[in-house]
Symmetry: C2
Subunit: 471 residues, 2 copies
Amino acid sequence: MVQQATAPDRLPDALIPSLAAALGAASVLAGPDIPPRNESDWSTLGPLRPLAVVRPVDTAGVAAAMRICAEHGVPVVPQGGLTGLCGGARPVAGSVALSLERMVGVEEVDTASATMTVRAGTPLQAVQQAADEAGFFIPLDLGARGSCAIGGNLSTNAGGNRVIRYGMAREMVLGIEVVLPGGEVVTSLNKMLKNNAGYDLKHLFIGSEGTLGVITRAVLRLFPKPGCTMAALCGLSSYEHTVRLLNAARRGLGPLLSAFEVMWPDYWDVVTQKVPGIRSPISGGHAGYVLVEAQGIDEAVDGPRFQAWLERQAEEGVIADAAVAQSLSDIRAFWGVRDAAAEFKQVLGPHESFDIGLPVAAMDDYVRACRAALEQRLPGIFALFYGHIGDGNLHIVAGVPGVEPQPKQEIVETVYAMVREFGGTVSAEHGIGLTKKPFLPYVRSEAELALMRRLKDALDPRGLLNPGKVL
Amino acid sequence: MVQQATAPDRLPDALIPSLAAALGAASVLAGPDIPPRNESDWSTLGPLRPLAVVRPVDTAGVAAAMRICAEHGVPVVPQGGLTGLCGGARPVAGSVALSLERMVGVEEVDTASATMTVRAGTPLQAVQQAADEAGFFIPLDLGARGSCAIGGNLSTNAGGNRVIRYGMAREMVLGIEVVLPGGEVVTSLNKMLKNNAGYDLKHLFIGSEGTLGVITRAVLRLFPKPGCTMAALCGLSSYEHTVRLLNAARRGLGPLLSAFEVMWPDYWDVVTQKVPGIRSPISGGHAGYVLVEAQGIDEAVDGPRFQAWLERQAEEGVIADAAVAQSLSDIRAFWGVRDAAAEFKQVLGPHESFDIGLPVAAMDDYVRACRAALEQRLPGIFALFYGHIGDGNLHIVAGVPGVEPQPKQEIVETVYAMVREFGGTVSAEHGIGLTKKPFLPYVRSEAELALMRRLKDALDPRGLLNPGKVL
């Protein structure tokens, strides 16, 4: 079983001097020098002050910090851009926060291999820009791009809007370097798409939220820049039509299909009626709304193809209404309808937000059952459903109007109990961290959890790395 | 460190009766009933008779067999279609062969999720056909499709010709079920593209060649059927031009690019001059030859696009000569030049074959250095180079004419020593098994190997599952 390290009650006297001697005084912040930003992430857990914040500038520094903390029996919490929503990077009591924020930069772009080697602390946006300047494209993208670090994106196996085409973050990684809990450095910076020389080590660390090792560098796969983007916003008369449209998009747009976002009517009505500045290109009253996006190679060929595909869907009665973007500004406006969720705090007042996953076929049944269960348990509750349906990813926003604090526990339990019933997942893209840990057994069997614990024990037998997270 | 189980000198008396009692007598073959086919795979290692062959029909049977063998301290060697080239499925002394050959069939096609649930023993070709009948496409394809089992494809993380577009076998898997060495069943048959609920367990077992667990079922991702295929065979004046063409193909064909096969002149000359029935659509005399293939959505749109792209490459001087396939029969003829390697045994006489990987930028330098090293060590040797260059995968065929047995050790050592020098891999797609194990340290650091051994110890502490393979 996973050992829970007993955090030392107070800072061991020799820890800070040892860290400062190994890493340089400027790399170790303690006491009043600890920056408040390192006390929490974007979860709602609130701040917790670590014993110290260590900020190495290279892999050797990370390894030294890990080794010294292990020698003192002090837990280490790795930190990237601190934008996680589940508390994965939030310090735990008696821990040292190991921040990768000074380990930044693109080390190499290899245009022949179409790869980029980056340091873990590099912000995603800087990674995207470096790829762009080299004539390539990094498809990984999410709202926090300016703040999040690529190492955190990999540790949490970030998703985003274009998973249907490019896969999750793990699919964009060819090699990694990682520091194990004892301080051993494992450098596995493979650049080849095909490499079956022994076990694939990278996938063990990608998505394990810094509980098995600390990612210090990575080799990312670069993609060709899309030559053009097409988008349409469609109204449909049933969820069955939505699935038909998804299958038609898979067939008719093939690998160009880059997003398939679905919005249920409650979501649509709130966004188009209450969020300021949203202009809807189609009228309301439909059973469902889909934003379908394709990235083409060149406008002259792929633009008319997209238009013809959409017209065929109208002729065949798959869609009831649709608008095609005629310009980049139209595309932005269409995504505005989908991204309006960012304004929900202002528009809806207090509520709970969810990132869950379901098999595509079960999704509409889930939405109806979940809504009914919420309404039964908390009369008057609102619940809005939307998400990246092509990937099986559903987001939910639910709250009881005018109530503060919200009945968080009841809402959360109801939503996740239904996820369990429908064979879904409590985390599609945000991870487990601390906040979703109680619900992990809803969607993972005891055998799966036992195997995860066995891996944790094998790599971190003393339970000193990011303790209490995920498991 | 990894325990090497001491195989029992003889069959423990109670083993066969216990297995027969749990699985039924028809599932357990011992003594003279052991089929010769279960004594070896397609490697050159030759046959080795196991203590028994167990052929369960379901996951419970696999679990029972594993548990009973563990109780008797008898090693288990999992077997699929037995088409592996590195000895991964060949029995070891004193082991029971656990064959999945009767665990066949497609359990479910979920058209909304675009997934298929299959049993591990199902031949790849049957999986492909079931996808086709459901209106989808399984991009995994290799020469042994009629004989190899999907479970073996996943255990070895099979590659094939279209990795540049669809990735390796692991990229096509959403969920698996696995039986651990002690007999515990871990069912993790996820169907969702996004699922970050805890560690991703599937990647631990995919590509670990049956040394950590036995895959019994899998959920595969289905893809849309390609609407058309375009291909061209090009002659180029230098490797630098080949890399330019690769980058132009990535940009100009985008996600339609499905194969980028390179042939060095020695390969080309042998194939076009000595292999019967090969007709070359372009003349020889070039520094390199590329077969570029794209899978489009519809012929009317993507055919002319491919043609225009190719003409642009000619105008810009990237290619010196090219022929575009005008029909399916042309496409087959073009691939015939590339697939002629299957005839080498007849044409070239005895030789050694290799499956290695290199960063794309290093590949031509490697070819020259490897050829020079081979010629220096073994004057008169021939060496032909070709491969899936878009994926960093190079195949080599080398032999000394008229010599039998071939100086295998010298050839192998020379080729792999150069791989080590150029930062490549000794296995791009075939795995390590037994035959490549001595060379794994050429391309994996002691830290990587130590971590692999730690994983093996964690999952198989007694070293009873496929012992001596990979590590």
